[in-house]
């Protein structure tokens, strides 16, 4: 699905990604973890076409990522990132409907299918209740639900989550991770996420990619990659793994 080969990336003279090689499989929930400065945000920026690389290659669906136009990429991939505050009084419905934009184009009209898709994702994300509320008047967590609805309305093959649920309370966070996990299993959606919570990453990911100093320290199933030893060596934190329960930070 996503093939990253020999990627190098530098800001000015500082090398952030050093000869990076990773594959992310189709229909899997993959999570990138790593301490601050390990290069995970940079990798996310390259994968979502927010930044361009010079050396190496990234293929998505066997097609080079730079050969996708901005428009065609939006039909394949949706990105939820930590957002800037919106200063204009759009209704939540307006914002969610924009998720259909890649499919209908500049002057296209929404047809019945579009409305059905939008209604479905609003139901899934529990946002029907504030369809008429202004985005300037909802909380950070509610706003992230709206942005999730917008991204799902794009009907993406690949969903990029960059700390997308950071402002949600725990109940919603769990609710949406379960929802996304379900979409991965049922609709064969591919998810690439960046998360800080090791317990949530362990519980929901099919694959975990641990990054350290611009290289991949380990990739594979959570039980193989997230070991006590690796967490100690990568994050410098002592943890104890309690089977069936999770990590206990010492």
């Amino acid at each position: 699905m996503i093939k990253i080969k020999n990627i190098e990336f530098a800001y000015h003279t500082e090398l952030i990604l050093k000869d990076l090689n990773v594959d992310f499989g189709k229909g899997l929930f993959s999570t990138i973890i790593g301490p601050n400065g390990s290069g995970k945000t940079t990798l996310m920026n390259l994968l979502t076409k927010h930044k361009a690389y010079k050396t190496g290659s990234i293929h998505i669906n066997k097609q080079k990522i730079e050969s996708y136009s901005i428009e065609s990429f939006a039909k394949v991939a949706a990105v939820i990132s930590q957002n800037e505050q919106i200063k204009f009084p759009f209704t939540c419905l307006d914002v969610i409907l924009m998720g259909r934009k890649p499919h209908i184009g500049k002057f296209g009209k929404y047809n019945d299918d579009d409305f059905e898709i939008v209604h479905d994702v609003m139901e899934l994300t529990d946002t029907l209740c504030f369809q008429d509320t202004l985005v300037t008047e909802i909380s950070g967590g509610e706003f992230q639900r709206v942005m999730l609805a917008q991204a799902l309305a794009q009907e993406p093959e690949i969903l990029f989550l960059d700390e997308a649920f950071s402002a949600m309370d725990l109940a919603y966070k769990l609710h949406f991770l379960k929802l996304i996990k379900k979409l991965v299993e049922e609709k064969n959606m591919t998810v690439i996420s960046v998360m800080h919570d090791l317990n949530l990453a362990y519980r929901f990911s099919d694959t975990i990619c641990v990054m350290k100093d611009g290289i991949v320290d380990g990739i594979g199933q959570p039980c193989h990659t997230l070991t006590e030893g690796r967490i100690k060596s990568v994050f410098g934190v002592d943890v104890e793994y309690i089977p069936e329960k999770g990590f206990l930070f010492l």
């Binding site: 901005i70 990429f73 957002n83 919106i86 009084p89 409907l97 934009k101 929404y110 409305f115 479905d120």
Partner: protein, 354 residues
């Protein structure tokens, strides 16, 4: 499920109808105001005389106004109508440019003058007035100089704001401020150099639509309509851009390209407006603000509706300043006197509800 999504569809449908009705209403009021204000002034004309002259001239039917005295027809066609149409165009342009600048810069308090284009136009105009006073025997065109001044300033601001091929919004505002302050100093210098004749310059700077002719309409009409069309064309992209650059990109909008096009289009509109009317503030600030909160934030509707409403507002303001006072007050001053306190009041109200 189908019936549920039908509710959403109905909602959008109703919303669109609301916009259409509002647009029609504003257009009707505008037509009425045009006829009304054309008939008002020192020479009183009747509604039907005005109507006959305008329709007769437009449709080339001289028999419609052959019985009306020629001086009356001249007042309608050569004096009042061009001024009124210029007012409509300038209001239309400023409100659209305001809407677009606000969305582009993600700042609801931006206005067409934020990026310094107006100061460039003002500098050009002031230079032309100065040259006409002291140096040239055949007067140079103030409008043309203002327009060139605006374009050069725009180019300069864009050049300064571009870093590694990318125009960031923060750079844009900063570059606008820097260039503006240099040009303001230039204006002050010319004012100082003109000594006793400074009144001509001051009058122009205050913003006025007095004695605008068909020449002004001919300059303004094609350029403002073209700019307005371009801006409307990108309405849905502009919606995505108001969610932030990243979000817009992931919705498939080529932000850098669209931003560059809209910036040039909106600045062009501003340049034309300033060059025919001087500096008229607040239309570009108040109109989009009111419509956003009262009607819709959706730029596909907001851009054309702002234009229509802005035209109507400036038309009314200009005619109040023409008709209500013994000595005409420049409409730029009027707008700011009325618009300023009005804006303070919505600003306070908004902060209270937040």
């Amino acid at each position: 499920m189908v019936s549920n999504s039908y509710v959403l569809k109905e909602k959008l449908h109703k919303n669109r109808n609301k916009m259409l009705i509002f647009g029609l209403l504003i257009s009707l009021v505008t037509v009425f105001c045009v006829l009304f204000f054309v008939s008002k002034g020192q020479a009183e004309l009747s509604f039907s005389e005005v109507y006959r002259v305008i329709i007769g001239k437009l449709m080339n039917q001289p028999h419609l106004f052959s019985h009306i005295k020629p001086y009356k027809a001249a007042i309608v066609m050569d004096i009042r109508l061009p001024r009124i149409i210029t007012a409509l165009l300038v209001g239309f342009g400023l409100a659209i440019a305001g809407t677009v600048f606000q969305s582009l810069l993600m700042n609801p308090l931006a206005d067409p003058y934020t990026i310094g284009v107006s100061t460039g136009a003002a500098f050009g105009a002031v230079l032309a007035i100065y040259l006409n006073l002291y140096y040239v025997t055949t007067p140079v065109s103030i409008t043309l100089f203002a327009f060139i001044g605006a374009l050069i300033t725009l180019g300069l601001v864009l050049k300064i704001a571009t870093q590694k091929g990318v125009i960031s919004t923060a750079n844009l505002v900063l570059a606008g401020i820097i260039v503006s302050s240099i040009l303001s100093a230039g204006i002050s210098f010319i004012k100082y150099a003109s000594g006793e004749d400074v009144a001509a310059i001051v009058n122009w700077l205050m913003g006025s639509l007095a004695s605008r002719s068909w020449n002004h309409v001919m300059i303004a009409l094609p350029l403002i309509l073209l700019g307005g069309l371009i801006c409307s064309f990108f309405g849905s992209d502009l919606n995505a851009i108001s969610l932030g650059e990243r979000q817009a990109r992931s919705l498939g909008v080529d932000v850098l390209k669209v931003r560059r096009i809209l910036l040039v289009a909106a600045a062009l509109i501003t340049a034309v407006c300033v060059s025919v009317s001087g500096i008229i503030g607040f239309v570009g600030l108040v109109i989009p603000h009111l419509l956003r909160h009262g009607l819709s934030t959706d730029n596909r509707y907001l851009i054309p509706l702002s234009g229509l409403t802005g035209g109507l507002l400036l038309l009314i303001a200009d005619n109040i300043s023409r008709l209500m006072f013994v000595v005409e007050v420049p409409v730029g001053v009027m707008m700011t006197l009325i618009g300023g306190p009005f804006f303070i009041s919505i600003f306070i109200k908004r902060n209270q509800t937040m």
